[in-house]
Each structure stands twice: as C-alpha cells, then as structure tokens.
C-alpha cells in the first residue's frame, strides 16, 4: 500500500514534463535495441537453417511482430497492476496445469498442451511468467530479507506448479519454472546460509532422485551427455552432430548458407532448439561471441532496470525475469555444445517458434513497464 501512494505522487509530477516518443510508448530503448538486433539476426540465421525458405522466415517474422505488439501492450500497464493481478494469473495458471492431465492433449508421451479451439497452449509457458510475478507479489507483502515463515510460504508457491509440470512429464520446463521463482527468493536476499543448505540438500538428493524419480529417457539424456560416443546413432547422434557443426565452424565460420552440417540435414532441430549450432557453424566463434555480447547487453540492462525500479515488487520481478532469460540462454547453448543434458529449451529470440518468443517478449514488456515507471521524489 505504501508503493501505491508513491506512484500516485509521482504521476502528478511527471505530467508536467515533456515526453519523448519512446517514453510515451513506455519503451526502454536500451533494452529494445539489443532485442531487435537479436531478432533480426535470428531471422538471418533462420533463413539459412531453413535452407533459404522464405516461408519459415516469414512465419518467424510474424511471430516477432506478434511478440513485439504483446510487449508493447504489456509495457503500458502500471507495475502496481501486475502486482495486483499476480495472484490471479498464478492461480489461473495453476488451475490450467491441474486441467492438463484431465483434458490435455498428448504429444510424444507427454501431456503438456491444452487445446483452446484452434490454438494449442501450454500452461507451463504461462507459468514461466506467473511464477516470478507471484513470488515477487509474495515478497511485496513481507519484509525483506525473508524471515523463515514467509520463506517457507514462498517455497510452497514455487513447488506447487513445478510439481504439476514434472508429472506431465516435463522435467526441464519444471526446473526452469521453479528457477524463475527461486531467483525472486534469491533476489529478495534470502540468507546465504539457507542457500548453502539448499545446495547441499540438492546435491545429496541427486542420487536418490536418479534411482527413484527420474525416468529412463531422462537418465538417457544425462548418460548421453556424459558419453555421447556410447550411443552414436541413437541419443548421442544429436549431440555429436551439433558439436561437429559448432567445432567445424572454427573462428570465421563456413559462411552464411554454407554450413554443411545443417544444410545436409545432419543437424537435428536446426531451426529450433539447435539453431545455435547453425550460427556457430556458419559464423564461427566470432558470431557466437557477438551473440553472447548481445545477450549480455540485455542482461545488464535488465539488471539496471531492476536496480532502478521504484518498488520492491518491480526490483524482484525485473531481476528474476532477467536472470531467467539468461538461464534459457545458458541452458540452450550449453546443451547444444554438449555440457548440459538435452532439454527442450529454445535459444531465446533466435530459435523458430511463436510461443517462446511471445513469452519472452511479454517478460521484456513487463521490464519496460518497470523501467518507464514514474520516478519517485525522495521525500
């Protein structure tokens, strides 16, 4: 309620000031610029990965337009609005997750989709935003750093949807969703002691989880990661081929449209999850480093927005969204390069696909809403 009052104050002051076009649209140009470069670059890589198929590039362009519009819309709301709506969005997402096993649509042995007429929709995707919103809402109501009881409550907020996603089963997404919530808790300043305890607990639970919880295909992915050569033609194929694509790119790369691994179809999923291998093969380590630099720009700006946010809710949300974004980058690039198990995570803003693009840009829209919120006058 305290935040609410401040915002009211502020809005009056800002009315008098002249506004730039970007400010009027609630755009954060420093954030938007690297995002746009990533998107355009993504189209360039996708054109090659799809073997010069303008249809695919066109569809991705349309995805990007939709995502940009979604971002723009989301950026117009006040942060307080998100704070108020956070529990509703969260419980809506939770409800949908519960609905998935009951009325969901299956694909490849997992039920992850809900069918809404023509559009199929993954509630777990909604949860990627609902989770940090909810946990940030939680800590907007309690003091920071969290005391034990609120901490336990927030953990429950994190675990519930994660558990529902695990049973779909989709361990990878579940971990990512949980991470986005845990990042809020981390940003809220949870004691290092608790963090250390959690890490110890996690490590200690790896072995029992391996024995009792993980499914064979999940174990297979981990085993394949450890020794891809053991199953050259089966699960190891993808990793061997993607590493070959990346490695054969060298420093300069083979040149745009000249990657043999992707163009000769050796590379799996070259338009979606493995698109970084196309980039690495055709543009070399140079291209990879430029990509990483762009991601770093986005992340630094995200953190800057967090630090300068006007409310605790905004700070926690902005830093958690930013960190989650980075985790997607890290997990995707790590898995394609063979240092992480293969999980279904697209390369943010570059991989072909509408859902992840829209989800990410919604997140950045929220960042922009936080960024362009009226300044507080120190009173």
């Amino acid at each position: 309620m305290a935040d609410y009052e401040r915002v009211l104050h502020d809005s009056h002051r800002d009315l008098a000031r002249g506004k730039t076009f970007a400010e009027r649209l609630h755009l954060d140009l420093m954030l938007l610029l690297p995002l746009l470069i990533l998107m355009v670059g993504g189209l360039v890589v996708l054109y090659s990965a799809s073997s010069a198929d303008w249809g695919t590039v066109g569809r991705q362009g349309r995805n990007q337009m939709v995502a940009l519009v979604a971002m723009l819309v989301v950026a117009q709301f006040r942060v307080e609005t998100y704070r108020r709506w956070a529990p509703i969005i969260y419980f809506l997402g939770l409800g949908l997750l519960v609905a998935v096993p009951l009325v969901g649509v299956g694909a490849k042995g997992a039920q992850r989709w809900l069918s809404l007429g023509v559009v199929r929709f993954q509630p777990s995707e909604l949860m990627k935003l609902a989770m940090p919103l909810m946990v940030a809402w939680w800590y907007s109501r309690y003091s920071i750093p969290p005391r034990p009881l609120p901490l336990l409550g927030s953990l429950l907020v994190v675990v519930l949807p994660a558990a529902l996603i695990v049973i779909q089963p989709d361990l990878g997404t579940s971990l990512l969703v949980a991470a986005s919530g845990l990042f809020v808790i981390f940003m809220a300043g949870v004691s290092w002691l608790y963090i250390a305890a959690a890490v110890v607990l996690f490590v200690a639970s790896v072995w029992p989880a391996w024995l009792f919880l993980m499914k064979d295909y999940q174990k297979q992915r981990v085993l394949t990661l450890l020794d891809p050569e053991s199953d050259k033609l089966g699960a190891g194929w993808n990793i061997i081929q993607s590493k070959t694509a990346i490695g054969s790119g060298g420093w300069q790369g083979k040149g745009w449209l000249s990657g043999t691994q992707s163009h000769l179809d050796f590379l799996p999923e070259s338009q979606t999850d493995f698109i970084i291998a196309v980039l690495a093969e055709e543009f070399g380590l140079r291209g990879v480093l430029i990509l990483l630099a762009l991601y770093l720009l986005v992340i630094v700006r995200g953190f800057w927005i967090s630090i300068n946010a006007q409310s605790s809710f905004g700070r926690l949300l902005a830093s958690a969204i930013t960190l989650t974004f980075f985790v997607y980058v890290f997990v995707n690039m790590g898995m394609v390069a063979g240092i992480l198990p293969v999980v279904g995570v697209p390369l943010p803003l570059v991989s072909f696909g509408g859902t992840s693009m829209v989800t990410l840009m919604l997140g950045f829209g929220i960042l922009m809403a936080i960024s362009t919120e009226k300044r507080v006058i120190k009173s």
Partner: protein, 621 residues
Amino acid sequence: MASSRTALRDTGREAAINAGRVAVALFLVVIALGVLSYRYYSLQIVEYERFLTQSDRNRVRLEAIPPKRGLILDRQGRLLATNIPSHRLSIVIERVSDLDALIKDLGALVELDENDLDSFNERRNRRRPYATVPLKLQLNDHEMARVGVNLHQLPGVAIEAQLTRHYPHGDLLSHVVGYVGRINESEASQIDEQSYRGTLHIGKVGVEKRYESVLHGKVGYQNIEANAHGRVLRVLDEESPSDGADLQLHLDLDLQRAAYDALGDQRGAVVAIDPSNGGILALVSNPSFDGNLFVNGISSKDYSALRDSTDTPLLNRAVQGQYPPGSTVKPMIGLAGLELGLVTPDTTVADPGWYQLPGDSRRYRDWILRIRGTGHAPNVDLRMAIAESCDVYYYDLARRMGIDDLASSLEPYGFGVRSGLDITSEQPGILPSTRWKRSRFDKPWYPGETLSAGIGQGYMLATPLQLAQATMVMANRGDSFVPSIVRRIGDLPVEGVSRPKVMASDDHWSAVIAGMMDVVHDRRGTAAAIGRNLPYTVAGKTGTSQVIGIAQDGVYDEDEIDERHRNHGWFIAFAPVDQPRIAVAVLAENGGGSSAAYPVARKVMDAWLLGASNAEESDDG
C-alpha cells in the same frame, strides 16, 4: 505518515539488498558466459581440425559404383542374358528409429517374404555406416507407386535405381546360361569384398557362374556429397567402373529352340557340337525352368515346386545326367576291334539271336530276338552289326577284346572323365575296367560283365555331352576338341582346345562310318525312319539303355512297365558325312527306345543344315 516513513526506510534497505544480489547475479552471469565462451572456444578453436575432418567425413562419402555385368549373346549376337533397369527398396538403418516397426509398415506396402528379410539381415551385418541396405531387390510398378507416395512418411527409406539381370528367353537357356542370384553368406566370405562392393548378385550356375570373373567387371568409386538421409547431392570425383565383358557363345538361338521344341514333352537332352572346333551349338535339358525366378530370390513355393518335381527340372541332364550309353558305343568298340586286329571289316559272327560264354549256360540275348524270334542274319559283319545294332557280334567282340582293352580304347573319346566344358556341375560318367571295379567295389571283374559293356550296358554310364563329344571324334575321324560354350570374351576369340587325336587307319574309319550311314540310309538300319528324303548324308547310331534289369528269359514289355522304368532312347549322329558340320547326341529319358530320340536329332540337323540361320555361317577360329 508513519507508515510511509517506515516504508521509505524499508525501501532503501530492500533496494540495497536487491542491488547486492543483482551484483552477485551479474557476477554469476559473467562467469557462466565465460564457461560458455570457453566451451565454444575449445570446440571451435582447440578441436577445430578434428571437427572439420568429421564434418567432411559426414558430408563426403566414398561410394562404390557397381560395374555393369557383361551380356551373354548367341553366335549371331542375339541377347541371351541382359540387364534391365529396375528399382529396389533400401533402408539407411542409421536414420530409422524403430526398424521393426518400419519393416512392418513397409510390409503393408510391398510384399516381403522371409527370403527378403533374411538377406536384408545378412547384408545389414556387412554394411558400412549410412550406406543403404537393400530390403527388396525388385519393386513392381504398384509397389513403386505405393512406396513412392508414402516416402515422406518413411524416414530412412530410399528407392534406388539398379540394373537387374534378365533372361529374355526364360526356360530355353537356363541349363546353359545358368542364372545369377543374391550373394549368400558363404559366397560373401569367398569373394573379394572390395570388388563386390555395391554388387548384390553373383553367378550361381552355368556360364553365369563359370565366367563370373569376366562378367562381373571392375568396381568403380565416386566421392559423393550426401545429406544425412543418404541422398546424393553432388559427385565430387569419380573413378569409373570397368563393365564386365560380354560373352558370345557358340550356341545358336534358333538351333537351341529347334532342339527344345523337338524334344517337346519328352524328358531328355540334346547336345549339338560343331565338329570343327568343339563349340556347343545347342545344349538342351528338358524339362527346364525360368532362370529369372532365381535372380531376386525365388519364393519358397516356386522353389519347392522345382525341387520336388519328379521331372527334376533343376537337373541338367545334358551334363549331369548319367545314363548307360547302350548301343551308341558300338561304332567306337568296332573301330577298336579293327585297330586291335580282332576283326576285319569282313569278319562275320554267327547270330542265332543269343550268345553264350564258353562253359556257361546263360544266354545273352540279342534285342532282335524278342521281335523276330531269331538273329539279324545267319552271319553278321561289322557294317551290319552297326547298322542293325547286332548285340551278338559285340558280345563276341567284347569277349575277345577283354574289358581293359575295351575301356582303354573308349577312353580317348572322353568317356569316364569330365570333358572340361565351360559350365558348372558336369558329371564324369563311368568307364568301367577291372581296376575301376576293384577300387569301387573291391570285387573282381566277371566275364559276363564284359559282354554287357560290349553293348554299352552294365556299369558304364555316360552323359549326353560325352556322347556328343564322342560323335564329334567320329565325325572328325579322330580329331577331338574340348567342348566349349563360350566363343568370344569381349573382343577376344576363345581358341578351341584340341584333345589327343584318336588314331585309326582311314580304312577302319570308313568301315565304321559306312555302318553308321547304313543306320540311317539303309532300309534295314535302326534309324531308317529318318533316312527318307534326306537332302544330306548322316552317319548315326541308335541306342537303348535299360533302366531296370530284365530276368534271364524275361521279356521287356513296354506297356506293362511303369513309365519311369521304360528304357532310355539314344541317338547320336553327325552330318554331312563328308564335311561334318554338326555332331549331335539326343537322349530320350524313359522314351522307350531310340525311336523317341532320332526324330529329334533329324529336326536338329535339319535346322542347322537347312535352316536359314546357317546361311551366313562362318568360323573365325
């Protein structure tokens, strides 16, 4: 407001906490980016060479180009075995996630039998990574269409163009040309794997097998750029294969067909030889089979039908069938009698219709006894003994000659050993002698057995090919060649190989050949039936060989005997007598007697000497 101030103070502290955590997070992000950068650095810089090589190896594949198998042509250049374009169904196993399911799906589109699956599994074990493994070697049009339409839903499945062996004349030549079939496991272990890379078929019998090395050719290679599905995108460089050499046979398609038609439903064999060089002009074994059935794997139903048939169509009677030669050996034994001084052309033997060994009451009957109740004539000379096939004359001659002289005088004609004909599975027959019987049965030779041998019965066995070869020797008055099927390999003529000449004086040859001419041209000759209206001269000899023994005074009654136990009929002949251009041997299996054989020989000789195909005949020896 108090609450507001508290909030402000809290906000400050919370902002500080958050800023601290953001700093930590940024630090972790930078470390993680460092890890990623290092990972990509080590892949792209440190291990660059290794991955570049691997990516090239992925991309570029050395592929075998199988050579085109040589054609087989008749003496006039007509195709007897050719290669026709066809399509096969193959699988790149590395691109298939569930092979069993895929094969089950394919089974709904094309007919897959156990043979196909067995061969597939066998080839699979010998494949190289990412190579296509053929599943079904020949797709018909319907199967092509069904698979083609569904191809996009069948990852790893490919339809490949190929050349398939084809025998345009079906049954007609299978016993000569033979056939190719899928390389089986034992063959795979014997052949040079490199030179058969990309080749699925190998000669199984006949000329196809005997000349496998020249028909096959030399494998070529190409470096191709292929995608992960095995589709060839570009040929980088290529070493062309050398195609197999074409084979031209001595065989004449028209003559072969004439011989085949002349036999009709009669089980048996015809072998016709060019006396000037030993070239096989026709070689028929009846019944036959269609070699095309075997090329891409014969169905078990078809195969058991062939294998289990009482007519044994898979048996090549011309070279594998061993029969008592019967009276056909009389001219050669007669010549030996003349050369050994045991008889002269004028020597006569009294012929009551039977013969007795001194001190033995057993009567050896002449075949004429059953018909006339008496012998051929009171006294029979050599010419008459040949013309009318007098057994008594030969009982007497054989007794005086003894089995070992008889055997050694027949040996130069090629009896008892494989002729060396250039196809597979030839049998040697039997030329009995005391030594042979000792080693075979560990028994002494009995004098009565010599009498049987004198009329080509008893232990003696010969193949139609051997009799044709012996007839060639008679036609050439002693000159002999190793019978041969192939006349040219590519552009190189195959020279006829001479065998040792059978030495005899001209008078003796003339005396024997005069008897053989009477067989056809004298009205009392045993083959006088074909002598009417003959526009050329023929020297021949009939023969009848017993399938079952007849008791001492038993009577052979054709009507009462099971068809399978009826006598085999023989006829050997050469023509024209002065300048022989064809020597022929005909076997009519269970034909009852030579009357089933000599009309066949007449038709074959007519076709060769009077037929149109013969007009432009020339020899390039």
